[in-house]
Structures are given as C-alpha cells and as structure tokens.
Amino acid sequence: MATRCSSLVLWAALAVACTGKLVEPTGGSGSGPAAGAGANGGSGSGSGGDGGSAGNSVTSCTPSPNGHVGLQRLTSSQIKNTLAELLGVPVTLPAAFPRDDRLGNYVTLPEAQLMSSVFVEQQLDLALEVVDRAVMIPNNPAIYVCDVALADCPSRILEQFLLRAFRRPPLAAEIASYRAVYDRSAGSPQQRLADALAAIVTSPQFLYREIGHPAPDDASQSYALGDYELATRLSYFLWDSMPDRELFEAAGRGELKDPAIFQAQAERMLADSRASGLAKSIADQWLGIGALWNVPDKTDFPEFDDGLRDAMYAETERFVLHLLRENRPLAELVTAPSTFAGAELAAVYGTGAASDRQGILGHASVLSLTSAGNDSSIVRRGLWVNQRLLCKEIPDPPPNVNTSLTGVLSKTATQKEKLDEHRKNPDCAVCHNMIDPPGIGLESYGALGQFRSSYPAGQPVVTSAKLVSGESFADAAELAQVIIAQPGYAPCVAQRIAPIAVGRLTDAADCIKAQFAGDSPAELGFRDLLLRVVSSPMFLNQGGAQ
C-alpha cells in the first residue's frame, strides 16, 4: 500500500481535530493561570485554531485567565531599530547575530525567546560597535545634551539617555552605577562615555520590557499598565521600536491613560513612516514570509536570487503597510486587485499580472514559501490558507505516516490527481478534505508564483474545488471570495495580530476574537481593527482574566 496514514489511536486524534466535532482547547478557559501563560499549543503549523467550524459564531466569550505576560526581550529587529533611534546612527546587525527563536511563528512571546551566551557576546560586541560610532559624532543630539567636558555633564547625559534606553525614568542607583563605569574608564570623555552607554544597552533593563505589578506572583490579579509601559507596548507593536520623544513626553505628563489621547497617539504613529515596522511584523509573524530565507533553493529555482527574494519581501510588506495606512477593508488582504510588484517581480508574474492576482494569495512571497522543491505544493498552500487566514487547527501528520506522494499513480499524474487518489484513504481524507481544496484553488501559480494554465508535461491546470464546509469555487478569485465569506475570517485576523501586540498567544477562547466575530470583512478597515486592538483590555492590562 502506498499510503499508510496512522495507527488507530492517532486516527481518532486526527478525526477530532480535523472535523471540528470536538474542540480540544489549547489553553482556553479550562487551563489554569500559569507562569508560562499562553505558551502551550504554540505552533506555526496549527495551534490556536478553532477546530473547523466550531467557534465561528462566537460572539460572547469567557475571559482567558492567561492574561499575564512574562518578561519580553527585545527581538533582533527591535534591538536594531531601538539602537538606531536611541543613538542616532544607522545600525546593521552582524550576520552572526542570533536569529529570533519562534513559538507559533511569533518572536514576541517570552516563552519563545531563548537565551544564550552567543546572544550576550553578540549584543556586547554590537553595543561597542554602535556606541563607538555614536559618541564620535560631534554634538550628536541623541547623546550630547551638554558639553561632555564639563564636570556635571556626564551624569546629565546618562540620566536623559537612561530614560530613553530603559523607557522609564531611571533610579538614582542606576545613574550612579553607570556613572561609575564612566569614572573608572580611561581615555577621552567620549571614550569613557562610550563604555557607560555600552553597559546600558547590554543591561537587562534595556533588553527586557518590564511591566510593574504589585503582586508579581499572582497572575490572577489584573493591573492597568502605567503610562511608560503603555508607551512601550504601543511603540513596539506599531513601530517595532522604542517610543519617540513625543510619546515619551505624553507618558511623562501622564496622558496616555486618557483613551482619546492614547487613540490619537496610535493614529499619529500609524501615519508615521516607522509603521513599516508593524507591516514587517505582520508579514513575517502572521503571514510567515520570514521563512522564505531558507525555502527556495537555487538548484530548483535557477531564477531565484537574493534580489528577487528581497523584492518578494518588499511587495508583501508594502502591500500590508498600504492596507494599514489606508484603512483598507480586511477583505482586501485576499481580494485586492492591485499589488506593488516591481520590475523584477513583474518579470516573474508575466503579462496580464493584475487580473491574475488576488491580494496576498497572488504574492510570490506566499506562493514560493508554500511550494516544495521545484513545484507548487497543494498541501502546503492549503495548510497556509486554513491556518493563517482561517485559524483552523490541523495537526501534523502522525509519526508513522508516509507523506511522500511518490508511488501513487503514474509519474506523469498531476499533483492534484495524486492527492485525489490519496484522499480515497479515509485515514488521510479526514484531514486532507480540509487541507487540500484551497491549495487546488492556487494551482494556477507555479513554484515562484508565476501564472500558468498548464503543467510542463502539458496537462491543463485544474483549480476548481469545494471547501469541506461546502462552498465551491472555480479559481483563485472565487476562492478569495469564499475565504472572506467565512465567519471565522475577521476574528482570525485579530487572533493572528494580537500576539504581536501583547506577547502572548491568543486562542479560541480569547475575547479578542469574539470582539470581531460580528464584523464584516468588507467593511472593517485594518487601521480600525488595530485601534480596537490597542484599546482592548488585553492590551491595556497585565494579569488577570482578559
């Protein structure tokens, strides 16, 4: 037999997860508050979903007890952006700087953030390299608030720098501690200052985002974030960087707990060029295009190079930024008829590109990411649509399964024909009836996203299929319409974005999802969704049920 799907025990587990008849909560109201809040069930390949159709009509919710977010470390891009803003110099991370670890594809979760001596070494080396440049810029406004040669100036410099570096007013002991570095260092005032600044940006108060809590070991207690904590959470969400002076000043005046001022700040920040930070976060952590770095292989993709890959990233990030900035409806993520393809991508897409493309479903980034070897992958693309856009929970194939399609039918059979055969096995069909159809709808795009109407061997491409819930579609354009008509689509957008905002995974039971259950994807705009997310209890509070 060419396909062996599973043992009996596994079959039962899969059947539950893929049909949605029963939902196994992955951290919902049944589980108690824990230090590793929301850490369970994290998976780039399928947790946090609602298990088929169940949950699509959630309009009320039980607050998740896992409202406590642990100490978040700045991610690598946040370190890069923050050092640049803080020190007023361009920053490039060295190639050896550790890549962020992920849980559920998110880099923002404390549980995902592993620590290593390599990280400490690299951070120390980076700190020295950046501050050594920054202090040598005469009158660098990011540092020099006074003439460093004057006796009382170094402490004043350190005090103002510490407020921005630690994102709160520094303690007297902290100022003294770094002043001591300055005092024991040798060389010019600039060199001595460089040592003190390097120590500051290697310190945990810089690298970790601390949220004060009156009873830090009682996660059930809810606590409203303070002004500086709100400013920090907002700026790392919207900019992937530290607050700017205006936001710090508003925090210093104690204004951010005023909802109107807080909203106005959020709107200002979304209009700022730094909002590209959020677009990148969404493209990477929600849509998953960050994984593109290791997918296309030159052996399989002779036309693929770093330039084309960068163009793929750029297209998706610009598209997402456009949706956020212009408050475009959620639906346009998959239905937008236009895109931002440059000349390089246009060459891949070929002529007639515009009419062949439906939003993100036509992006070379997503289509390459979800290909395998030198061909598209119906399974990977189907998984991507189900998990990323509809928050469906689909388990990985069990350990004993043969996931290779080799040996099924003849060598010349198309991938769709092989999968059609494969689904005749009920053990396989239980999940693949849900996984495959959206992938079939995207078969008109090759491994790099190029449009095609026939396969290299000559067979015509077939793109018509039917979702397991019954909706039929003829091609990618109709698939896009079917996707946005799913009741789970708008809540899924919120569920996928929320972990970037608050640093914990959100699951089926989370109220953030229920808040958007009644929204029409054709009407609700992305900016409006973001403004509602930052005004939600889970964003404004630490601990307790949210």
Binding site: G42, L114, R184, P216, T299
Partner: protein, 471 residues
C-alpha cells in the same frame, strides 16, 4: 568558484615528527602546555565528540555483520574499520509523557524528541516548557573544564537551518534544534553556533598576534568593566519580578557570567595550535562545504584544546528543513526518510546515509593524520556518531545506529561490534526485543566514567557497558 574554507595540512600543527623544536626544549619552555598535551594519564587527554545525523537509516543497515560483506552505506568508513566500534542493541526509549508517545515503538511524537533527548536521555516535559536535564557533552565537558581550565565546556555546533517556527503539535521547536543542555533548569541549554566564523571566534578568542602572553588585552578589560556594571543590575531588577520572570533573568545573568569567563580567559596555548585565516562565511545552503568547514573547525578546536567536548548536529531531524541537494536530490531528507518500504525511496535514503557516513570518515581521517606529541589525535578523541531514530520510516527508537570511533587511549577497544542488547539475534519483534535492549544512556554513562566523572547515573541509565567488541 565555491567559497570553500577547507584547511590544508599546514594549518594544523605538525607534531613531534615535523616540529623543529626538540621535545626536551619544548618541555622546559612550556611546562603547562606540555602538561596539557601529554597529561599524567590517558583520561586527562581524552576529548569527546558527539556527532548527530538526522532521521535514521534503512532498517538496520547501519551495522556490519560478522562474515558478511561490508554494507554499501558504510563504504566511506571501510578504510577506517580498525577505528570503529559499532554499538548495537541500544534503545532511546524516552519516558515521554507526550501525547504521541508510544511505549511499544519507544519514541514520542518523532523528531521533537530527537537531538535533545538523544543527548540527554531525558523526556520532554509538558508542552510549552523548555526544560530537560544535562546532556552528555555538558556532563563530561563541565567536569573536564574545571579540571583542565579550558575556556569552553562544550563547543556546540549545528547546521544553519533553524528549526524555529516548525514547532509541531505544541512542542517547542527548541527541542529539535538544541542538543546541548547544561542542567535541568528552565531554558538552560547551550545554543548552537551555526556559522563557521562564530566557531572560529570561539576557538581563537583573545588569540591576537599583539597580545602579551598571560595578559588580557585592552578590549578584554573593557568588556569586563562593562559586564561588571551589567551584573550590578541583577539584584534590584530581580526584586521587582515574579518567579517566572526571575527565572528568565537568571538565564540572562548566567550567560553574562559565562561570557565574562570567556572574556577573561587566556587564548589557547600557542604551542598546540596555530591560527589560520578566518573561514569564509559559507552557509549551510552550500551544505557540503559548510559541513567540511565545520568539521575542520572541530578538529582545530580539539587540537587547540579549547574544549573537552564537541556537540555537532550535522543536520536537524524532521522535514522541510534541509533538501538533500548534497546527494543530487531535490526532496527534503525527512520526506525521503519516510520511505514506506518503497525501494526507490530506500535507495535515496541510502545515498543520504552514505553521505553522512562520509562526513564521519572525513573527521576520522583528519584526526588520524594529526600527531599529538607522539600519538595520532584520533586515539585521544572519542567520537560518538548516531541518530535519534533507528529506521527513518518507523521512527522507532530501538537498535539505534551508533558508532564509536577512535579513543583507544581513552579506554575504547575499537575494531568490531559490541552487541549490548538484542542485536540482530533477537526475535525480530520490537515488542519483545526491547525488553532486553540497553538504554543509550548506558553508553553515555560509560563514557562519562572513562572521562573521570564520578556520575553513577545519567538520564534513564541502568548501568554501564563494556566498550569492546564481543561478537
């Protein structure tokens, strides 16, 4: 032109035979280095390399049988037969509580319990936690670092294909990618170095032509001053945090102290190794050159005695991570490993196994050519080559493919088969045979004791093994 960095022989110090300095003079000039290199006993020279290859093999083809032809997938190793001890009948039956754990098949959900639980012989805790127990390279390495004063306890390397984001069924991706665990504390692992340049820097930190022997450089002193200030922040910040966050901060400061130790350590003894030019930044996309470069660096680290142990995950388990382009195949190696008893797929897996065996052969060959004050380096280095599963298709953890190479001066008798479990003479039924198999942990415990460790247990060990042929 490929960006190779394949060290030539000149980059390695030629030992007594090729040295222009006569040994007695050397001894007088550098008593410490002489002691390091020769040591009062064999155990004091022993170093250990744990080499991991992913996704298992075809059936039990990774082991030769007496009086039968040498298996084809072992062909690259045939010239080194005298160096090899095939340890057969070991199981890796983690006491996993994870949902897919199958007590009969002996594995958890597959590759998540791969590298991490291979090296620790521990079980994965509940989902969402990254906590195990000490791995074998750290157990031996921490002990020997204290005794020998080496800068590192274990040099930890992996290929550059980060498993992040492929977490399966809620198991943290960390377990795929992390082989070296320092203790049973939360997140207490050693992250692998995935670029040759980083490994090179680890070996030669502080090794500068301008540095004064026995003295720290200005840069080292500067870093120490900065790290002192960082350490001053610990108490005040911790006092404000809850238990879980304090544990996170502990992790940060334990690594700060680790870096402080490294920053304050003196460079490797110049007599034992020479510093070649830094390697090109070859990435694992060019997998053959990447692997070759890393193996060259492993040899250099052993020769320079900067670490008693090396843990190197040649490639990570599970799928979609590394396409087998190094043997001319565009499919991913994990997909191939699920051969489903399809002969075409099995042949592909044999090609992959043969390639990985070739890497072991390269390492052994290199260690044999290097003279360490009268003995080939291979005799002082115990290399354990193994995978997390036995048959790649079945994911079973019984009769693991395990080869111990070299280490004759450290107490290994090589050149044959040590059948420590049911071997090939068993009934052929996993359900009954596994009762008689020995845990992999017994092999590791035996090695730890050879290294002089006082440990009496490791992971799920039940005893020790005699590391000599018995078939």
């Amino acid at each position: 032109m490929s960006p190779r960095w394949l060290l030539d022989r000149r980059s390695f110090l030629i030992g007594a035979a090729g040295s222009v300095i006569a040994l007695p003079l050397l001894e007088a000039m550098f008593p410490t280095e002489k002691a390091l290199a020769q040591g009062p006993s064999a155990a004091d020279k022993a170093r250990f390399v744990f080499l991991f290859f992913p996704n298992g093999s075809v059936g039990s083809e990774m082991s030769p049988r007496p009086n039968t032809p040498w298996p084809s997938i072992l062909s690259p190793l045939e010239e080194h037969r005298a160096e090899l001890l095939f340890v057969e009948g070991l199981h890796n039956r983690q006491n996993s509580s994870w949902k897919w754990y199958d007590p009969k098949l002996g594995t958890g959900s597959g590759h998540e319990v791969g590298a991490c639980c291979y090296a620790t012989c521990a079980r994965i805790p509940e989902p969402g936690q990254t906590r195990l127990s000490i791995s074998i390279d750290q157990l031996i390495g921490q002990e020997l670092r204290t005794k020998r004063g080496t800068r590192l306890a274990s040099l930890v390397i992996a290929d550059g294909k980060n498993a992040s984001g492929i977490a399966q069924g809620g198991v943290n991706a960390a377990f795929h990618s992390l082989m070296s665990w320092k203790s049973d504390k939360l997140n207490d692992y050693e992250a692998p170095l995935t670029r040759p340049q980083l490994v090179f820097e680890q070996i030669f930190a502080g090794f500068e032509p301008t540095s004064v022997p026995g003295q720290l450089s200005a840069l080292q002193l500067r870093k120490k001053s900065i790290l002192d200030a960082v350490k001053e922040q610990e108490a005040a910040m911790k006092s404000r945090l809850g238990t879980a966050d304090r544990a996170r901060l502990d992790q940060y400061f334990s690594n700060v102290r680790e870096v402080e130790t490294k920053v304050g350590a003196l460079p490797p003894p110049t007599l034992l190794c020479t510093k070649p030019a830094a390697p090109a930044d070859v990435t694992s996309k060019n997998f053959p050159d990447f692997t070759r470069t890393m193996l060259d660096l492993v040899v250099l680290a052993l020769q320079c005695q900067v670490t008693p142990c090396v843990s190197y995950q040649l490639s990570r388990g599970n799928g979609g991570v590394q396409n087998a382009t190094y043997v001319g195949l565009s499919e991913d190696q994990h997909g191939i490993s699920h051969h489903g008893n399809n002969p075409v797929q099995q042949d592909k897996l044999r090609q992959i196994n043969t390639w990985f065996n070739g890497q072991l052969a390269y390492l052994i060959g290199k260690l044999k050519t290097i003279d360490e004050l009268g003995a080939p380096l291979s005799k002082n280095v115990v290399t354990v080559f193994g995978s997390e599963v036995a048959d790649g298709d079945k994911h079973n953890g019984f009769d693991l493919p395990i080869v111990v190479a070299g280490g004759q001066n450290a107490g290994i008798t090589s050149g044959g088969i040590a059948d420590v479990g049911f071997g090939k003479a068993g009934s052929g039924s996993i359900e009954t045979d596994h009762e008689r198999a020995a845990p992999l942990a017994n092999l590791f415990l035996s090695l730890a004791q050879l290294a002089g460790s006082p440990a009496t247990s490791f992971g799920n060990s039940t005893g020790t093994l005699e590391l000599k042929p018995n078939v």
